[in-house]
């Protein structure tokens, strides 16, 4: 894309002004994280500094590794019983707050998602160790719930006092051989954001869950969807489309999912990756160990959804599948277009800013574009350089001390379970023909020149962005929601969707168009100023005694 948007004042001006408030050290660092997009030859983009520490005291959008591990990756699955080992808070705050929907197969099937479980560590356990209590908690959980699997999540103090959640998990597994029990060292201080927790979750799910069960869902075209968490029912919509096209989703990591699906995911023939940031590790490792090819998809926006399902069909090279997919897409796009064209007329030319997640700030640009809304500034909360610049920069990313602490697994092909899904050399042949695998081009090559790309955007910068560029809508998270709306500017949450959705797939696109239309043309913000604010001068109409 070679489109250019001229910001006024320019992005450079903004950046240079905004960093003046910082200390020299912080100013230098933030300048590397505030980038004016410029697409060069071969889609090269400027380098951005990402996945680096947030300065203390800065009002940040970021959370912690526990949130990334328990909250994001493992939270959405319904039948892995999840025990948070630590004081009560972490478990409390991750209790149903991410809107991961789930639909158990039967009225009796296990669903632990409405349950928050914690060892609620007390002072004496902090002093003398909490492993005994954790073991007792597992005993109680097994006795009450009889789960297939238990995940244990370490919180900050647990790491510091030296409780070994993995040792307890092993001991518990010996005691309960029918239950798969595994621990996550996802203490909140690991890494610099939620991102560390994603990686920790990926590693453990890969080593302790995937490959444990040998079964495969019926179907000719069986795939896993990675990095889709069924917020607001997104995974339900993706399942509907997949079914309509004739595909079989073996497992979704991890929206609307079950343990058995994870445990047998090695038997699927393709992995598609939705949220690159949170799950690319698993895709890569499954490719190496089981030979499952993967590529990036995007189910946010009608065009991206159509493109992604076409690519999936083309991957399987089956004419019937391709035909069925095309027919399904055509039918859906017809419905989408009716709404889109109507909404477009009311929304075109509006300006948006997106600061969210590790993929969403990119994905949602597509769907906004479909209704004529331009993204003039965007950035991720916890992504890495590859999410901005594309995976081509992976070899050049310098691993700093914070990331080095997160284990990087060495993976080799499995002796029995590795098998090629396509003939030798086929992937390379396709790649040469422009059909990408193991790909992600990142956000920046798809953003117009001159737009602002800001990593780990903070409150100070968000306020300035609004002052400088007066966006018509801002998309971010709950902590930013009311900061923006107090100013009379509509704000759309892209973590929780403001308790709406789905926003994925075709129906999701329709929902999102309507929602943005509602927000941009909403009555309430007309009332931001009272009539007397507009003309405060006093002239008495009726005055007694004159």
């Amino acid at each position: 894309m070679s489109e250019t948007i001229k910001l006024d004042p320019t992005g450079e001006q903004f950046r240079d002004d905004i960093v003046k408030a910082y200390s020299p050290k912080l100013s230098k660092k933030r300048k590397k994280q505030i980038i004016i997009n410029q697409i060069g030859d071969c889609d090269t983009v400027p380098e951005i500094l990402a996945n680096t520490r947030t300065a203390p005291g800065i009002l940040t959008m970021r959370g912690c590794a526990y949130a990334g591990c328990k909250g994001v990756v493992l939270g959405p699955t319904r039948d892995i019983l999840q025990i948070t080992h630590g004081p009560i808070g972490c478990s409390f705050y991750s209790w149903l707050t991410r809107r991961n929907k789930t639909k158990p197969r039967t009225a009796e099937a296990a669903n632990y998602m409405p349950y928050a479980m914690s060892t609620d560590l007390q002072e004496d356990e902090i002093v003398f160790g909490g492993e005994k209590k954790l073991m007792a908690a597992i005993d109680e959980a097994v006795a009450i719930f009889h789960p297939k699997a238990i995940g244990i999540f370490a919180t900050c103090p647990v790491g510091l006092i030296g409780d070994d959640v993995h040792a307890v998990a092993r001991a518990a597994e010996e005691k309960y051989p029918d239950v798969n029990i595994f621990g996550f060292s996802c203490e909140g201080y690991k890494g610099v954001s939620q991102s560390a927790g994603h990686h920790i979750a990926n590693n453990k799910v890969f080593t302790d869950v995937v490959g444990q069960l040998d079964q495969k869902k019926e179907g000719r075209f069986v795939l896993n969807v990675l990095g889709e968490y069924n917020i607001g029912g997104d995974a339900f919509e993706i399942e509907r489309i997949a079914e309509g096209c004739g595909l079989t989703i073996h497992s979704t990591f991890s929206g609307n999912s079950e343990y058995d699906e994870f445990a047998s995911a090695q038997n699927a023939d393709l992995n598609v990756v939705m949220c690159h940031r949170s799950i690319n590790y698993l895709a890569e490792m499954m490719e190496k160990k089981y030979g499952i090819p993967w590529f990036k998809v995007n189910f946010i926006s009608a065009n991206a959804t159509a493109k992604s399902f076409r690519k999936i069909a083309q991957h399987f090279e089956d004419s019937e599948l391709i035909e069925r997919t095309e027919a399904f897409i055509a039918k859906e796009l017809e419905k989408v277009e009716k709404v889109r064209s109507e909404v477009y007329a009311r929304c075109k030319g509006k300006k948006a800013m997106l600061f969210v997640g590790g993929s969403r700030a990119h994905h949602y640009q597509d769907v906004l574009r479909e209704i004529g809304v331009e993204t003039i500034a965007a950035g991720y909360e916890f992504a890495h350089r590859d999410d901005y610049e594309g995976r081509k920069v992976l070899p050049n990313i310098i691993v700093d001390a914070d990331s080095r602490n997160i284990e990087e697994l060495t993976v080799t092909a499995d002796e029995t379970q590795y098998h090629l899904r396509l003939p030798v050399g086929e992937i390379e042949r396709r790649k040469a023909n422009g059909f990408a695998y193991e790909d992600y081009d990142g956000m920046m090559p798809e953003m117009p020149n001159g737009t602002l790309v800001i990593d780990d955007c903070n409150h100070h910068e968000l306020e300035a962005l609004i002052d400088y560029y007066k966006p018509d809508i801002v998309c971010a998270g709950i902590k930013e929601k009311y900061v923006v709306q107090k100013r009379g500017i509509p704000m759309k949450q892209l973590h929780s969707y403001d308790y709406m959705g789905p926003f994925a797939g075709f129906r999701g696109a329709i929902n999102f168009y309507k929602e943005i239309d509602r927000l941009l043309n909403c009555n309430v913000f007309r009332f931001t100023k009272a009539p007397w604010d507009e003309s405060p001068e006093l002239t008495a109409t009726y005055v007694s005694g004159t």
Binding site: S23, G57, P87, S118, T119, I126, K479, K486
Partner: protein, 462 residues
């Protein structure tokens, strides 16, 4: 069923908490800190704590909740958080210029043993805290107490750092300090309304009124209009007396003010319902030497009138409650006054410092089942309800799963409420709050009567 794994009985639990009926200290401390005008709360720990607490409070109030964090990395966790906190002070005062920063610790900084007093002193020495600016702190380890303890600790920290003793040691003003427990801004406003009607000069802190329920006016106010100004908290050391409104949430601050500045205090229960509001006003009247104006008498009389009109619908109705002790006791008392039969009361907060069980039994007899403290959770509460189904129950948003599964009407009171509006604006304290509460109870019960009545029993006039 949403809670399909909650049978009426299960093996006893000692180690596993399921669906907690409390949360951790720092969120309470953050809420209290918001009750100081021009104050930036700051969470000394990992980013996640701050993100979670801000999110929880933001969802509860649908208002911006701002707080800094020390953003601990693994290095800070090993070597101590001093460098992070010092850097945080520089950034906070440069970028956000608050008058006060109120630091709460977390389990992380507590376990590594960061000495906040020492770090804050060092920050003053190194001029990381600009002249005229103040930093206060409360130790709020998540492995003791609950969100109520955290609130109480931060309220006490306000006294510890800010309240000043008058020079001659004597009382200088006829002002009364009002220290509320962890209650909603609407309830704080109602308590202030009562004091104002009685023409009593008062200082209320923490006071989150106008901070977490601020108007939309086209601007973002990092420090909204509300909150108790620092000068007033300082002056609280010269007040005639203090009324601690709530045993667990407010008494520690009042006690400390007595010790530090010799301001005598009395503790009352949060004025919810007629009896507790009567006692609050009576205490206020006697301490301040004020008379009760007709406006308050009218509010009281209207509430008594409404109850007398409608108490046939509340009489004998079975109720269960889960929540926080300072709210639960007067709420139980009000329900009892309405003729309702309170059968279960549960809190995850430890009530060691409060004769909680004794108080509730005093109010409604021996038959009520009371569970309080460590290990008492909503899983247990749900099981109690299954054994003896009430007509109505009280609790926070998480209770909606129980309400739906069991088809029992739920009145949302407590923290957090993520799914309904009202608590920011409509009080349950005072006589007017009692009226709101009565109306909510009646509407809920009467909607059920209308829904469930046979056609031949359906009533037009009720």
């Amino acid at each position: 069923m949403l809670l399909r794994h909650t049978p009426s009985t299960t093996p006893e639990r000692h180690a596993l908490t399921i669906n907690p009926a409390k949360t951790c200290q720092p969120v309470g401390a953050m809420y209290a800190a918001l009750g100081i005008h021009n104050c930036m709360p700051h969470s000394h720990g990992s980013q996640g704590c701050c993100a979670y607490h801000r999110s929880a409070l933001t969802r509860h109030y649908n208002d911006p909740i701002m707080s800094g964090t020390s953003s601990f990395s693994e290095g800070a966790s090993v070597f101590g958080g001093q460098a992070n906190l010092l850097e945080a002070f520089t950034n906070i005062f440069t970028l956000y210029s608050p008058d006060i920063v109120a630091v709460n610790t977390t389990c992380l900084s507590e376990v590594i043993g960061d000495d906040l007093t020492q770090i804050i002193n060092k920050a003053y020495e190194e001029k990381k805290i600009p002249a005229g600016k103040i930093v206060i702190h409360a130790n709020t380890p998540s492995f003791t107490g609950s969100h109520i303890t955290g609130y109480a600790n931060m309220a006490a920290a306000m006294v510890k750092y800010l309240a000043k003793k008058t020079a001659d040691g004597g009382r200088q003003t006829d002002t009364i300090n009002l220290i509320p427990s962890f209650i909603e801004p609407s309830d704080m406003a109602e308590i202030k309304h009562i004091a104002e009607e009685m023409e009593i000069s008062y200082i209320m802190f923490p006071d989150t009124c106008g901070v977490v329920n601020s108007p939309l006016d086209g601007r973002f106010h990092l420090y909204p209009r509300g909150g108790c100004p620092k000068e007033k908290i300082e002056a609280s050391g010269s007040s005639a007396a203090t009324i601690a409104i709530g045993v667990l949430g407010a008494q520690p601050a009042a006690k400390l003010l007595d010790t530090k500045c010799k301001v005598p205090f009395e503790t009352v229960e949060v004025p919810i319902g007629i009896s507790a509001t009567d006692r609050f006003i009576d205490t206020l009247r006697k301490i301040a030497g004020a008379s009760v104006p007709s406006s308050i008498r009218i509010e009281r009389g209207q509430l008594v009138d409404a109850i007398s009109d409608m108490c046939q619908y509340t009489y004998g109705k079975k109720v269960s409650l889960v929540g926080d002790p300072d709210i639960l006791v007067p709420l139980v008392e009000f329900l009892n006054d309405l003729g309702m039969k309170v059968q279960h009361v549960l809190t995850g907060t430890s009530t060691n410092k409060y004769k909680f069980e004794e108080r509730i039994k005093n109010i409604c007899g021996e038959n009520v089942k009371i569970l309080a403290g460590l290990g008492k959770d909503m899983y247990l509460f749900h099981q109690l309800l299954q054994a003896d189904k009430p007509d109505l129950f009280f609790g926070n948003t998480y209770c909606k799963y129980i309400a739906r599964d069991m088809d029992i009407p739920l009145l949302r009171i407590g923290f957090p409420i993520y799914d309904r509006l009202g608590h920011s604006y409509q009080p349950i304290a005072g006589y007017r709050g009692g009226m709101n509460l009565l109306i909510r109870i009646l509407n809920t019960l009467m909607d059920r009567i209308d829904r469930d009545a046979n056609e031949e029993e359906f009533e037009l006039i009720m």
